[in-house]
């Protein structure tokens, strides 16, 4: 049986590990070839360990184990010129571009009065402008294919409802929600669909990293304002595996969602409704 995205090519940012790797594998399982990027150096100002070059190599290994092709490069989403050249190389090698998953992001947590201009700038640069860079680097290739395509922007539960002690992240993720609507409006005439996905807490190295940092921003926030702890509640029990988000990405990437655009899809265990 043909896969649900058989023969398509997907560009995924932040693909070295966590949700990005899960998306690469899920789309590859269903027949897509992958263009993957992630950073290889620790991101300045981020208190948990960011992805390393060997993480991206592991994604390559796992995609190839599924008999799909993958073009993977170390590239920072803040570097739009480099990203353009990686996408060009990927499209040259794999022949086309159909799907974009703008997934790369960071989360620097802490009470409002611990947020510095550097934290705000880093977060907006990566989570918001980085997503815009991703779309801008990709759209010309989707247009060139003439077949339309699907762009999925990873926002957050916090792009629909602000989370506590997450000021910069909330700002960036609400921005992504708005960006999805804007691109959806203007790209629709080319049959390019643009939707946002809104994960709740997902079991990834980023989430583990945030929790495990000594003197983490969450600890400070909980001490400063314990009333807000309940806002972190997800209705469904347990911690969500990254593959749950990948299933939503797959649906939005596939032709099963051919008339879905401008939609904000929450996969959050009820967090935004709490």
């Amino acid at each position: 049986m043909a896969g649900r995205v058989e023969g398509k090519v997907a560009f995924i940012t932040g693909a070295a590990r966590g949700q990005g790797r899960a998306h690469a594998l899920r789309l590859a399982e269903e027949g897509a070839d992958i263009i993957a990027i992630d950073i290889s150096e620790q991101v300045d100002g981020v208190p948990y360990a960011t992805a390393k070059a060997e993480d991206l190599q592991e994604t390559v290994r796992q995609v190839e184990a599924l008999d799909r092709r993958i073009v993977a490069e170390n590239c920072d989403v803040r570097d739009v010129e480099n990203m353009k050249s990686v996408v060009e190389k990927g499209v040259a090698e794999l022949g086309r571009l159909d799907i974009v998953s703008a997934n790369a992001g960071v989360d620097i947590v802490g009470p409002w009065d611990t947020m510095t201009p550097e934290i705000v700038r880093t977060t907006i640069d990566i989570n918001l402008i980085g997503v815009w860079n991703t779309v801008m680097a990709s759209v010309p290739h989707i247009l060139a294919g003439g077949r339309g395509g699907s762009i999925i922007l990873t926002s957050s539960a916090n792009g629909l409802k602000a989370g506590p002690w997450n000021m910069a992240y909330n700002m960036s993720k609400y921005g992504v929600t708005g960006m999805a609507k804007s691109f959806a409006q203007e790209l629709a005439k080319h049959n390019i669909r643009v939707n946002s996905v809104h994960p709740g807490g997902v079991d990834t190295p980023m989430a583990q990293g945030i929790m495990n940092v000594e003197e983490s921003g969450f600890t400070k926030g909980m001490e400063a304002n314990p009333d807000l702890v309940g806002m972190l509640t997800q209705w469904l029990p347990g911690m969500m595996p990254a593959r749950e988000i990948s299933n939503a990405i797959l649906f939005l990437a596939s032709d099963e969602s051919a008339w879905v655009t401008g939609h904000a899809l929450a996969v959050d265990g009820g967090m935004t409704q709490y």
Binding site: G230, M231, W235, Y274
Partner: protein
């Protein structure tokens, strides 16, 4: 100085006490005459005492003490004939109608599996169909007056699903849909329609006999407790806090505000 709703006439449901009385007094303070209705009868299934004719008489006394006129009648928002009779009588007496506050409502707290058909029907017919009756029966008078403002009392539970209130949450979300539908169709007559979304309010409805119903339910489902949290450090608002929002929406200060959800919820819906 002229009041902020000077010379206007307001129709208020559930006007005997609580938020309804407070709205009547606040609008009267700012120059409005009032048409008020209330059930003034025993409501089955609720944990709190029902409003009485004495309560409605006290509203009359307080409005008249402000030198404003008031027509107050006992009427059930579910009974279209008696509602229409009061509205027509009030408009005949006071000359016109500019403001509608659909405030009457009931609240029964119960887990989803303990909510009876009676409670469901009673809640939907009062809190949702009663609001529809109020709007549909008053709209012709606002059209005749050349425009006006309708304020439909929804709830924080009309924007988010608070626990152990299935019928109430469904009705109050329904009020938002009703508001949008009417705001769309009545705009051509310069009639504005908005919803008010209170968090807990210090009224007879929220007496300890009501609130203690939450106790065992929250103990059995502790995860849901914090959903009741207000961001601001208060347990509940006062009726007058809600009335100030009603006054703003009723007045010409809000003349281009329509189809809006107005939260006076101390941040509850953002929690």
């Amino acid at each position: 100085m002229a009041g902020r709703v000077e010379g206007k006439v307001a129709f208020i449901t559930g006007g005997a006490r609580g938020q309804g009385r407070s709205h009547a007094v606040r609008l009267a303070e700012e120059g409005a005459d009032i048409i008020a209705v209330d059930l003034c009868d025993e409501i089955p299934n609720v944990a709190y005492s029902s409003a009485t004719e004495d309560d409605l008489a006290e509203t009359v006394r307080q409005v008249e003490a402000l030198d404003r006129r008031i027509i107050a009648r006992k009427a059930d928002v579910r009974d279209r004939d008696s509602m229409k009779a009061v509205i027509d009588e009030g408009v005949a007496e006071l000359g016109k109608l500019d403001i509608v506050v659909a405030n009457a409502g009931i609240c029964v707290i119960a887990g989803w599996d303990e909510t009876s058909v009676d409670v469901w029907d009673q809640t939907i017919s009062t809190n949702l169909t009663g609001v529809w009756n109020t709007v549909q029966l008053t709209a012709p008078h606002l059209i005749a007056a050349g425009g006006g403002s309708m304020i439909l009392t929804s709830s924080a539970a009309g924007l988010k699903g608070l626990p152990f209130l299935t019928a109430y949450v469904a009705a109050k979300h329904g009020v938002v849909g009703l508001m949008r539908a009417f705001a769309t169709e009545l705009a051509e007559h310069s009639i504005r329609v908005n919803t008010l979304h209170p968090t807990g309010v210090n009224t007879p409805m929220a007496d300890p006999r009501t609130m203690e119903k939450f106790g065992p339910l929250l103990e059995a489902h502790p995860k849901l407790g914090p959903m009741m949290t207000n961001l601001l450090p208060i347990e509940s608002t006062e009726p007058r806090d809600q009335s100030n929002a009603v006054l703003f929406l009723a007045s010409d200060e809000a003349r281009y505000v329509t189809s809006m959800e107005f939260t006076v919820d101390a941040g509850n819906t953002q929690y």
